[in-house]
């Protein structure tokens, strides 16, 4: 799998790849903007997000992989462009940007260093974005997972066990990816679980399988939320 830095390099020349990246990283851009302006922002409503999108594009174009990690760099560019935006529009309503001058820029530079050190956190963000994209391809949203995620620990463990069996068995895994349906009979032959129970946990099991197959290192969903 290509690294994010490889994709950035490609996106500098290919507009489609740049657009794909912007689309995939919209939640990240929004979360950076929100943290900066200190309130919830919505695409199509808040102008700050347009500034964030443009800053992200600028970050793609000007990124030098020898100097830093991309997300840290993008975060810094977004912050700087938001400061510029508020200076131009002379708005004084935000908490974090209010009265920002050299001290804020210095703080951002310092933050950038911190982010470079916090490499692990950055990789986790990348894995979250990758996981969201994987789920999307299967028509699964995080909202759905929050709705159907089993409350009972033993049931959750049972479903994880099923997911491990699927992820560890090439033929079952291929069948799942080919048909996009749980190969219930094959699983029944290995684990004695009632088909209805399997069907009820279908979405959660698939979500676990996708996390296992993706081999996330920093977002270990199948064992827990984090490394």
């Amino acid at each position: 799998m290509r690294s994010l830095e490889d994709r950035i390099a490609r996106a500098k020349d290919e507009k489609d790849e740049a657009n794909r990246l912007i689309s995939e990283f919209k939640p990240f851009i929004a979360s950076v903007v929100q943290k900066k302006v200190g309130r919830f922002v919505e695409y199509g409503v808040d102008e700050e997000l347009s500034v964030g999108l443009m800053a992200f594009k600028e970050a793609i174009d000007s990124y030098d992989r020898a100097k830093s990690k991309f997300l840290s760099f993008a975060r810094m560019v977004i912050s700087m462009r938001l400061i510029d935006y508020y200076r131009k529009s002379k708005k004084e309503r935000t908490v974090s940007i209010e009265g920002s001058d050299r001290s804020d820029i210095a703080a951002d530079e310092s933050a950038m260093e911190q982010y470079m050190i916090a490499d692990e956190n950055e990789k986790r963000i990348l894995e979250i974005i990758e996981y969201r994209n994987l789920l999307k391809k299967w028509g699964i949203s995080l909202e759905q997972l929050a709705d159907i995620s089993p409350q009972k620990e033993d049931l959750r463990e049972q479903y994880k066990m099923v997911a491990r069996v699927i992820a560890g068995n090439e033929s079952i895994l291929k069948a799942l990816f080919r048909t996009k349906r749980l190969p219930v009979k094959e699983i029944e032959n290995i684990l004695s679980i009632h088909p209805k129970k399997l069907e009820r946990g279908r979405i959660y099991i698939i979500a676990m399988v996708l996390a296992m197959v993706a081999g996330f290192s920093y977002l270990n969903i199948s064992r827990g939320g984090m490394k």
């Binding site: 950055e122 963000i125 974005i129 996981y131 969201r132 995080l142 409350q151």
Partner: protein, 238 residues
Amino acid sequence: MKAVIMEIHKDYCIVVTEEGRFLRRKIPSGVFEIGDEIMIDQEITFEPAKTPRQSMVGRYLATALVVAVIIIGAVLGIRFIRQYYASEGMGLAEYETVAEEAVGEEAEEPQYEYEESAEVKRDEGEETLAEEEEKEGNVVYKDIYFLDVENWAQEKIRGIMFSYRVESGTVLQVQLENISNEPGFDGTFELFMLKADKSETRVIDIPFRNFVPGDLFEDSFLLQEGEISFRLEVFEEF
């Protein structure tokens, strides 16, 4: 318990916990980013994990209780009918016929009709016990739900789809729909409203008599100050 923020929405975020649970949690706006780790409340467990042996014992006890309730109900019903018709001066043959019919219809008889006979009041102690058993039934489901969901959360319980959501953070909307193919449900859905310290503020009773497939119940309840969750207990009458 630690959790990682996976997605941020206006009033809440979606996190994944150390145990692999996806949950919605309220967070202050503009403070957290995707990927941040936050601490969330420990899950409250009401029923400790049962060993297979304990489960078997529980099943036997439940079966024995159901049989006992049926026998007591039948005995009390027959005694009542015998006393009632004896007081009316009815002949034996006539009484036997009526008694058989009455036993067959016993489940459909409203409770208050039994109290019309002065003779029955002599057996007040026994009847109170029977009433209590009938009212309480068996607890067939017990779990806790948090009041931080804006979208409908659903749970299928004994063939009934229980859905709830909290609108504007102040109104608890509840829907119950019988989606089974089985005969009507008799029992009660009880919502024990809880504060953060697990203390009960009130109990919302939703009783059902012959709640047949396709039936839908909807209601809204104004949340009281400090209520953050509720414990749902479902009693089924047999």
